[in-house]
């Protein structure tokens, strides 16, 4: 039976893990994702899950265990954040290159230095070229829903690519929300039985996993890997629709909020999108034609769909919760600006970096952005393409 429960983001992930009961969970605790790992360990101790729980000596080892277990033929997941994800870095590429459908929950957190435990997207954005599919969540319900869908997307035979689900550290991971926890059997049925491809436990089949590839094969294998993530969009779409049919909450590549007649648009991901919606409601009541576009899937980047949604607006502000030092804009901005390049008619676009190290972003900050957007829409000119929100200057 579907029930309403008051859970924080970490607990919602653990709850989904309990329902899916993967063959192996290998994870090392790190703030703010610790409670995911802790709760799974408790579930294992209490006999609520039957899969193996492995807590190795580091995140690098945790991802290594995931790779080994997934190669053996198991359904595998992990959870981490920040430095933990950074320590996994070389293994992330191996998981993707070996086409192992591992699912990871990431409680998004800033990267050192300076050391900080609070939420931003520096960790997963740093892994954006690792070959993993990336899905971001606005709140606890979305984190739960995305995490369940992640298995279906990762394990699809056309995709076979690891998926990470981001939930903002503390803002989602530690905040309570009343969420709909779906029926155990219904979730199990939705995720379905896991069918491994070329498992090492199939001892009748002789094979090598991950042999050395020199100049003669490496390029072909990499091209083949790219195909997996390129095949993901129709799968993500179908799984999002089926999830909607089954549980009543449908998902796409992004959410458009009051975009129908919007002249200006704010693009922002994850928890800040919730605050932005409040700002947009207030601005709408003042007669401002403004909307929000909240990307959900960052890899593969739905460039065409996002460009189509934005091309008719008069000004766009892309808000990034990470920076890309020395680059022409932060990650989300560069993607969207590039996506619009093909369009003859395209809006002027501006980038704002916000919330690094968990710095708050409030309704009034979004209103400031809206005001600046209004000016850009009027003049058609971007005076400063990069700004910082709620920073002492």
């Amino acid at each position: 039976m579907s029930t309403l429960k008051t859970l924080n983001g970490n607990q919602t992930i653990a709850e989904a893990v309990r329902q899916i009961d993967p063959d192996v969970v290998a994870a090392y605790p790190i703030t703010p994702s610790t409670a995911i790992v802790e709760t799974i360990a408790k579930f294992r101790a209490d006999g609520l899950i039957s899969g193996e729980f492995v807590c190795p000596e580091s995140e690098h080892s945790a991802m290594s265990v995931c790779i080994g277990a997934a190669s053996a033929g198991g359904r595998v997941m992990t959870a981490t954040a920040s430095q933990g994800l950074a320590l996994m870095w070389e293994m992330l590429y191996i998981a993707a290159g070996l086409r192992l459908p591992i699912v990871a929950a990431i409680a998004n957190r800033s990267l050192s230095a300076p050391i900080n435990i609070h939420g931003d997207h520096s960790d997963t954005m740093g892994a954006r070229d690792s070959g993993w599919i990336q899905i971001y969540s606005e709140g606890c319900q979305e984190a739960y829903d995305n995490f369940i869908q992640a298995f279906r997307i990762a394990e699809h035979l056309d995709v076979r690519t690891p998926v990470l689900v981001g939930l903002d550290g503390f803002i989602i991971s530690h905040s309570l929300e009343v969420i709909q926890v779906e029926d155990d059997a219904k979730v199990k049925k939705f995720v379905g039985e896991y069918k491994p491809v070329y498992p090492l436990f199939d001892t009748d089949r002789k094979m090598t996993v991950g042999p050395i590839d020199f100049t003669d094969y490496y390029f072909e294998h990499k091209r083949s890997q790219i195909e997996g993530i390129e095949n993901a969009p129709p799968v993500i779409e179908a799984v999002g629709k089926e999830f909607g049919k089954t549980f009543g909450r449908e998902y796409g590549f992004f959410e458009e909020y009051r975009m129908d007649d919007a002249e200006t648009c704010i693009v922002v991901m994850s928890s800040a999108a919730g605050t932005c919606k409040d700002a947009i409601d207030e601005l709408r009541s003042e007669g401002k034609k403004i909307g929000l576009l909240k990307p959900r899937v960052f890899r593969p980047f739905p460039h065409q769909k996002i460009a189509e949604a934005l091309k008719k607006t008069k000004a766009v502000a892309v808000l990034d919760r990470s920076s890309s030092p020395g680059a022409f804009g932060a990650p989300l901005f560069t993607e969207i600006r590039s996506a619009l390049y093909d369009y003859q008619e395209r809006p002027p676009i501006v980038n704002y970096v916000y919330g690094l190290g968990g710095r708050d972003i409030m309704v009034e900050h979004f209103k400031d952005v809206a005001q600046k957007l209004e000016k850009i829409a009027e003049t058609g000119k971007v005076e400063e393409w990069l700004g910082y929100i709620n920073l002492r200057e």
Binding site: G97, L98, R99, Y198, M207, V209, H221, R223, S224, E227
Partner: protein, 104 residues
Amino acid sequence: MSKETWKELTIGTINLDAGNSVKNLTGTWRSGKKPEFIEENCIQCFFCWLYCPHFAILVKDGEVKGINYDYCTGCGICSVECPSKEKSIVMVKEEIELAGGSKK
């Protein structure tokens, strides 16, 4: 040997063709020198066979008979290790064809 296109490869770098390293003719790595076996000097000590990193010493009926040039990389270890009074393996110049057909 014609190689697969990216579309023909098995998913995830998996290689189902067990033992396919025999297809990797490491002899193509030789670049100007090759070992030559002089049977009358050979004392059948098997040092060359033991030291060869590519199992390229030909053995028949329990006796060293020569070099398998499909796999010999021309590293010269066999010749250095050969303990017979007069070397039974010596490195000689080998003409190799360069890309484009010129010879070196």
